[in-house]
């Protein structure tokens, strides 16, 4: 079996550990109820009367029983909630598409209200004709659909100095993954007659922060999208309604929301967001700039501190997410002993470029402690490093681009904790 041929769940592989005990042993392990389940033997209200009619919620919300699956923030991280961030509840999600309603938010001057009718996009700088587009204009360009992850460069940034936040939502939740519909930026640049000698585009948003970033022209012409739909519907306000930039595989700060201006230039602006922030300081005090791509990374989302094992020993689904800004995920390995031994997990679907990949490892848990880790590999051959490897190159002060292997200490009682191991 090749290492990639692991996309089908295998009941046989899962049971193989118990196979020598024979089929009888399996059968006798099935739990026997002592008393009849009243949920089955008694008629229930929902099985007799009516539920809600249509239009009870013209735009539906999650079930009332899912009220804890929400974005959460860490208040001490930022000075206020206007220029701040919150975290996707990745511990409670499955599959790969992030619902917009719980996809993390990062604002530098708050989420603004900007209507389609008030929306304008300007293209200027080194172009034949500076142009202004309305929202309706954008809808008349040929459009494309792509699934991409958007990860904040600071995701896992609080973990450089050690295990700090106790939950996958907080350690790895500055990420979401959506199917975008939009116009390739290349088409808008061509419409303006851009000067091919221009090496950069400077992009900025309509909010007060403007969040200006310089993007090299090669990337702008390659796969950047000017997107107006996500997961089939309009963008949410907090993600840049009505139009945002999608910069596949590159740090989320470049995905400018409420994008209002694209300027073709000869030089990078060296804006605040690309000098004082989103630069990575190394141990010797020198800092890397233009570290745009998000390197391959993965995390076990369950079990994890917010999703402990509640069922005791026996069949257990270990699952998580993997992604790479440099291409498709090819393989994910999982360790249950803190990195001594590894086994290759099953990918729910073959990895797609710059999109989240879901992995599963179906095991028969013997109830003993585990130090759970996952390790992603992408199509370039890059292997997700340990925190020790990262620190050896970068020291502790990089803040951004921490793609280290994460460890969850799962106790015998099924509870899990964020730890660091030797």
């Amino acid at each position: 079996m090749s290492e990639n041929d692991t996309s089908k769940p295998s009941r046989r592989a899962f049971l193989s550990g118990a196979a020598t005990a024979g089929a009888g042993a399996i059968a006798s392990s099935v739990a026997q109820a002592q008393t009849a389940d009243l949920l089955i033997t008694q008629p229930q209200e929902w099985a007799q009367g009516f539920g809600d009619g249509v239009d009870a919620a013209p735009y539906g919300l999650p079930s009332q029983y899912e009220g804890d699956v929400i974005r959460r923030n860490v208040e001490w991280l930022t000075a206020d909630q206007i220029s701040s961030i919150n975290f996707t509840p990745i511990h409670a999600l499955d599959g790969t598409i992030t619902p917009q309603g719980c996809a993390f938010e990062r604002h530098h001057s708050g989420a603004i209200n900007l209507s389609k009718s008030d929306y304008r996009l300007m293209i200027n700088g080194l172009v034949d004709t500076p142009l202004v587009f309305t929202y309706e204009d954008l809808e008349r360009f040929p459009r494309e659909n792509h699934v991409y992850f958007c990860e904040c460069a600071a995701n896992t940034g609080m973990e450089w100095a050690g295990a700090q936040l106790n939950g996958a939502q907080f350690t790895h939740g500055m990420i979401h993954n959506m199917e975008y519909t939009g116009v390739p930026l290349r088409l808008l640049l061509e419409e303006s007659g851009y000067d091919a000698a221009g090496k950069w585009v400077f992009v900025e948003g309509a909010d007060a922060s403007s969040n200006g970033r310089s993007i090299p022209m090669d990337k702008a012409l390659d796969d950047v999208l000017v997107a107006f739909k996500a997961n089939g519907e309009a963008l949410r306000k907090e993600h840049g309604y009505p139009v945002r930039l999608v910069v596949p595989g590159w740090e989320g700060n470049m995905w400018v929301k409420w994008i209002r201006r694209i300027e073709v230039t000869n030089f990078p602006v060296e804006s605040r967001e690309e000098t004082s922030k989103y630069t990575d300081t190394l141990e010797d005090g020198v800092s890397r700039k233009w570290t745009w791509a998000m390197d391959a990374k993965s995390v076990v989302t369950s079990p994890s501190p917010q999703t402990p094992i509640k069922h005791g020993k026996g069949p257990l689904v270990i699952t998580g997410l993997a992604w790479s800004g440099n291409g498709a995920i090819k393989r994910v390995d999982v360790s249950k002993d803190g990195g001594k031994t590894w086994e290759t997990a099953r990918l729910a679907k073959p990895g797609e470029k710059m999109a989240l990949t879901r992995f599963y490892l179906d095991i028969d848990w013997d109830g003993s402690e585990m130090l759970l880790q996952s390790r992603a590999m992408d199509e370039t051959g890059y292997v997700q490093p340990t925190k020790t490897q990262l620190r050896e190159v970068r020291g502790l002060n990089s803040i951004y681009h921490n793609n280290c292997i994460q460890t969850w200490w799962v106790r015998k009682n099924g509870e899990a904790e964020n730890v660091e191991v030797s």
Binding site: D128, G193, L371
Partner: protein, 343 residues
Amino acid sequence: MLKYLRPVTFAFAICAVTGPALAEKLGLGRAALPAEVAAWDWDINALGEGLPSGSGDAMVGEEVFAEKCAACHGDFAEGIDNWPKLAGGADTLDYEDPLKTVGSYWPHLTTAYDYIKRSMPYGNAGSLTDDEVYAIVAYILYSNDLIDDDFVLSDDNFMEFKMPNAAGFVVDDRAEAEYAIWSSAPCMENCKDRVEITMRALVLDVTPDLEGSAEAVAPVVAVTPEPEPEAKSAAIDLELAAAGEKLFKKCKSCHQVGESAKNKSGPVLNGVVNHAAGAVDGFRYSKAMKAVAEGGLIWTEDELGSFLNKPKAYLKGTKMSFAGLRKAADQLAMIEYLKTFTK
């Protein structure tokens, strides 16, 4: 400075030979009017292209800063709470916990002008005049000991200013420094002899309460200066010390006193009067302060008075960005107040 000086005809010539711009157009959108471009195109690049004409100095800047910036960034650009610190941190980038400010970290001064003009003040972005922005940038430089208070910053001399950390950046070198060493076939078995837990998040305990109570979990230090009247009270003029306590409000954003005092951007001041300079444990003093401390400086009332009068004149290179207490009576009151805090 205009950003695009090249004649239009030349731009057309480039397009004609290089290709992509010749792609068939859909005829969507409309031409942007010059006034529209001017209304939005404010960015200033690292070459200074886009800098408006104008000027300002730190004296004017201090006033504008106090009115429009200090609520978050502090009177001396030292930053309040979690808001960005704009001053200090020189030579700390290779420390365990570097202080990255405009002075210590930013490679280009143009970035400060560009950002302040477009995105500040927070909550009223884009409302500053060009001269006000020059003055604020000058004040931030002054707060970082990078210019004297009478230096007039303008579009004429702006690009002559070299930031201390201008050479402190390298273009992304992960391909050579990391990808090359992290791309070999990964180990699957017997990858290490032992595994030990070296750190636990629950011990640190800074994760938000998931039950929904929105309590902040950051450690909070109570800051209540408590005079200790019983200590040498006979020698202390309590009325004068009370006047000093009022003046100390100016110092509180950087200095703490009293039982639970901790070093902030300035050292704890308990017992400072008649004590050796530069001697508070755990505080990273400026090179200048370390030098005079090694020279045996004692903070006698006279020395402390001279320092407080005009800190930067007394000790060039001090981290203390406070402008000074010019009145002798204020200096005496401050010293009297500080005397109430013994070790």
